[in-house]
Each structure stands twice: as C-alpha cells, then as structure tokens.
Symmetry: C2
Subunit: 302 residues, 2 copies
DNA sequence: TCGGTAAATAAGGCTTTCCTTAATGAGGGG
DNA sequence: CCCCTCATTAAGGAAAGCCTTATTTACCGA
C-alpha cells in the first residue's frame, strides 16, 4: 500500500472513472488501473466496480475513501510542514469542561503576548498521554497524568460542588461532555455519589447542563468558581451531598523539559503568571472574532 | 516519501534512538537509518539529530511528527476499514449552532431507530461541499449548498431574531462559534446590520452567548425557536432591528441519490419524519450517556 | 589518548513500484 | 450484430524501496 496508490484510488472514486483520473494525474490509463489493482490485491476488496457508465464504490471502498483522502491530504501537508519559516505551533488539549470555559480567553491572551499559532483540542484523559508522547499535542490541561517522560504540574486549585434549583427534581444528573470521560472530576463525583447510569443526561456543553439545572431539570456537578455568578444571582443554589465539596486541582502536563518544544515551555511559564490564573478563575467572556479558534475534538484512531 | 519511511521516523522520534527503533521494528539498524536518510533527502531537513545520548527533533521534525503519526495510524486504519462486516457509518456535518442544539437528540433518535454508527462534525459552510464530495461526510445540515453533484433539500423553516436584556448594553454583539463562519445565518445578519468587527465577541458555544446577552452584556442573534423558553421566562427579550425577523431555512445536503451511501439515504428519509422535525424544533434536553457522541470539528487540510 | 557506543555510509541483492505501449475483455447504443 | 468506449491485463524496463553485512564516522567518558 503506497501513498500514490491511495491517491489513484481517491481520484478514481472522486471522478468516477479511471480515464478521468489518469488525465487528472497526467499519466496513462493503465498506470492508474494498475495502482488500483495492486491496492485491491493488498486489501482484498474491489473498492470500485464498474456499473454502467461510471465506477461506483463498494461497501469497503466507501469506508476506505474518507481515510484515504485524509492520508493523501496529510501527505501533502507533511511536505509543507517541514519547510522552514513556518510559525511555531502550540497544540493544547484539555478536558471538555476546561475547554469550554478557559480555552478561548487563555489562548487569546497567550497569542496576544507571544507570536504563536495556538490551537485547542478536547481529548479523553485516557488518550492524553498518547497524544503528548506522539507529539500530536504539546501541553495537556486537566487531570494529573502519569506516564513515561511526562511531567504534571498543578496550576489551579478548585472545588467541586453540586448545584441545582431549590425546587428542582433530584433524580436526574445533568452533565456536560466531560461526564463521558471516566477520568474527569465530574465522573469521579458521580461515582462517589453512586449515581446510576439511567439517571445521567449528557448535554452538548456544560453551560447547557447548568442552564437545565437552573430550570429544575435535575442536579449538576460543578466547579465552584465557574458557577459563581449563577450562585450569586440565585439561579443556582449549592446542594449538599455526602461527597461535596470536593477539593481538586487542575494540572498542566508536558513531556519532560528536555523533550518538549520551545512553545510548550513558554506556555508552561505563561500558565503561572497572575494574568493566566486570573483568566482561569473567571468564566468565558468571549473573545474577538479574529482571535477565536474552534476547539477540535481529538481522538486516537487506534 | 513512503509510509514505512514515515513509520521509521515516528519510531526514532518516539524512542529517541535509531537502535531502539530498529529493535522495535524487528529490522537491522542500517535499515532504519536509511529510511530516515531518504526521508531527510526528500524533505530537505535533518528531522532528528544526535545530541549526546539521544536523537532529538529539529524544528521541522517536530512539526512533521504529529502529521507523520497521523498518517501511520490512518494507514493501519485503512487496512482495517475495508474488512467486511464493519457496521455502516454515517457522518453528518453541520453548522456550529445546529450541532449544539440538534445534533445530540437528532442522532440519538436516529441511532435508536436504525442500527447505524453515526457521528457528528462541525464544519465551515465553505468547506462542506468538499467534505461531501470527498466522502468525508455523508450528509450536511445547515445552509443551502450548490455544487457539482450536490442536492439540497429544505428540512425546517425558521426565523432569525435579535435578543438581549431590556436594560443591557447595545454596543456589543455576542455570538457562538457559528459567528466565525461567513456563510452562516448569524454572520449574514451581522452584515445586514452593518456590525463592525470590534463589536463582535465570540463565545465557546451559543448557549454561553445567550446567557451573556441575558445578563446584559450585549445583543445576540438567535434562531427564534431555540430561544423560545428564555423569551417565555423573560430572561431574554426580542430586540427590534431593521433586518429582523429574517426568514430562513435549514437544508439537508447530500450527493445525488445515485452516488450517496445507503445510510445517507436512510437519514434523509428520516429527516422528514414528524419525530425528527419535532426534535429540531425543541432545544437540546440532553441524551443518555451511552448515546452521547462528542462533536468533532472537521477541517480541510489543504 | 583511547575505548566503547551509536549513527551513518557503502555495497550488493532482491522485491516492488511505476510508467510505458500493445492487446484483451466487457458492456451499451445504434 | 457491430462498433465504440472504457477498464483491465500483459510485457518490459527504469527506478526506487528495503533489507542485509561490512565499514566508517562522530562523540562521550575514562
């Protein structure tokens, strides 16, 4: 299986014809046909078959096409990436809850100060050590991590509580996406409280979960300082439970200093500045459009 | 540049030594060394250099490593993907706002009814036609799309309004991530109202933007039926403007029927059922943990 | 200064890739 | 039924990949 074989397959699938693919690639028709034949042999699937006047994908071919497109695109990207003069990149992965509240302002502040192209990703805690060691990420923010060559440092102390509406129902638990990460503080709290699976409802984001809790739809675990304004207004009230308040820390993790990139080191230093701490303590207030970077959900294709 | 050359590079970078990489790959040391040499020649960068007792990445090598890891992982994935018996996959991409409110419940309902492994992605409108034609996505939900071989069909009628707090400030505009997509309804509305760049603040999600608007931080564009509950409670009030209310439609787009996958066709049929329409009209109420799928932000690596 | 360790290079052989031209199916439309 | 289009197969040659063993170079520590 070669990059060029995959490229030929992508062209054929997209253009619906070997002839057209050959023309587009600037080679003869049998050249494409043969690349395809070899890929077929290697993978044991026809991938595309002739049907009337065009080539159509088989089941397997259709599953392959997306992956093949990505590989081809990344191949081109790889060549471009090593060219000198490219700006340094910093990829920070974090817990879903953290990403929602601190990613925007934190990265906004950092990129204002340093000329770095920073992006944010969300990843499950279990996958994060792999992301760091494979260099898909430079810094991880969230739970403490242990692993070969990884260094975790606490960056913020926080308290976990449970919030709800005074007369709201108590038999439902409303969580954000971090509730699906077994290693998150949210999940840990739910386990301590022995919450059963069917009682848990997952919302698209933490803000929506808290809003539903404020409307009485159930209880929600919360990081105290992130719901401070709702508590002050009385939209949410703290609910006493056997396990709360629960002390916790946010950690920043990187490869050991010798192995990490320059940008990662700079970011770690930045995290201990008062301005960074301040941003992490106050919820998201929005960022200018030019500085906004969508958060990418990172996952390992194992 | 070969997949195996990239693999050798990844091993050397990760293990910090050619010798260790050779052992791990089960080949001789020069085999690895030569793969590396060829990659270096091809890309014009040393990638890794010896420094004391370990091989360390150069600038370019460090930029390459993440991409190379992905390519290698996807290469393995490709082989697995074509094996028969894998469940059908459906990848739906949508506008950021839509993803936040309807992705969870809609896909939850669909996967309950049909045995399909469905995932959701967010993509900029401009990139969506490419995602569809490259088969990285099966169905797109959001703005109407035109393109070779694409078919758009309206699925829901909606109204755009502007909301805010009665005594809130009027000089700021608060938007969700869809405010950064120039082709989104939100951006269209801001253009019609001639809103200037510095007045716009982008939040991590739409819910947070509306919450900030309710607290008086500014005005926010909104899809009427998604803020119905906040309007009913009086947390938000409609603000009259020259451009609102603005009628709009949500469209579903796929490749033309002959070219699209079976799952895509099934999903298109599903979208016109009363249950699907109902889900799209009512905001997110959370989904069971087992059915939750995080939303992936999809981007084209050009 | 001298070993020792590890990376790089050289040389050789085998396999695979990748392209060409020419010939051979396979299928649809007149 | 024939012709036309397009995919596939065949055959051959140049190049590159990929592995080996043997040798050379580079660097660190004693």
């Amino acid at each position: 299986m070669t990059l060029s074989q995959l490229g030929a397959f992508v062209f054929v699938a997209r253009l619906g014809s070997v002839k057209a693919a050959a023309r587009a690639l600037g080679v003869s028709e049998p050249a494409v046909s043969q690349s395809l034949a070899q890929l077929r042999r290697h993978l044991g699937d026809p991938l595309v078959t002739r049907s009337g006047d065009r080539m159509v994908l088989t089941e397997g071919g259709s599953r392959l096409l997306g992956i093949a497109s990505q590989i081809v695109a990344l191949g081109a990207e790889a060549v471009a990436a090593v060219q000198p003069g490219r700006p340094a990149r910093l990829h920070v992965v974090m817990d879903a809850g953290l990403a929602e509240y601190v990613a925007g302002p934190l990265l906004c502040l950092f990129t204002q100060r340093k000329q770095v192209d920073a992006t944010t990703g969300v990843a499950a805690t279990a996958e994060t050590p792999l992301l760091l060691s494979s260099r898909l990420a430079d810094v991880a923010l969230g739970a403490q991590l242990t692993g070969d060559g990884l260094v975790s440092r606490p960056v913020l102390r926080c308290r976990l509580i449970v919030v709800g509406s005074p007369r709201g129902r108590r038999d439902h638990w409303l969580v954000g996406p971090s509730g699906t990460d077994p290693a998150s503080d949210t999940s840990r709290l739910l386990r301590l409280l022995r919450v059963q699976e069917p009682q848990v409802r997952v919302f698209a984001n933490q803000t929506a979960a808290w809003k539903a809790a404020a409307e009485g739809a159930g209880l929600a675990p919360a990081t105290a300082h992130l719901v401070a304004s709702q508590l002050r207004r009385g939209e949410l009230v703290p609910i006493e439970t056997a396990a709360t308040p629960l002390a916790s820390y946010w950690y920043a993790t990187t490869l050991e200093p010798a192995a990490r990139s320059g940008a990662a080191g700079t970011f770690m230093d930045f995290l201990t500045t008062p301005a960074a701490t301040q941003v992490m303590r106050t919820p998201d207030e929005g960022v200018p459009r030019s500085r906004f970077r969508p958060t990418v959900h990172v996952s390992i294709w194992s």
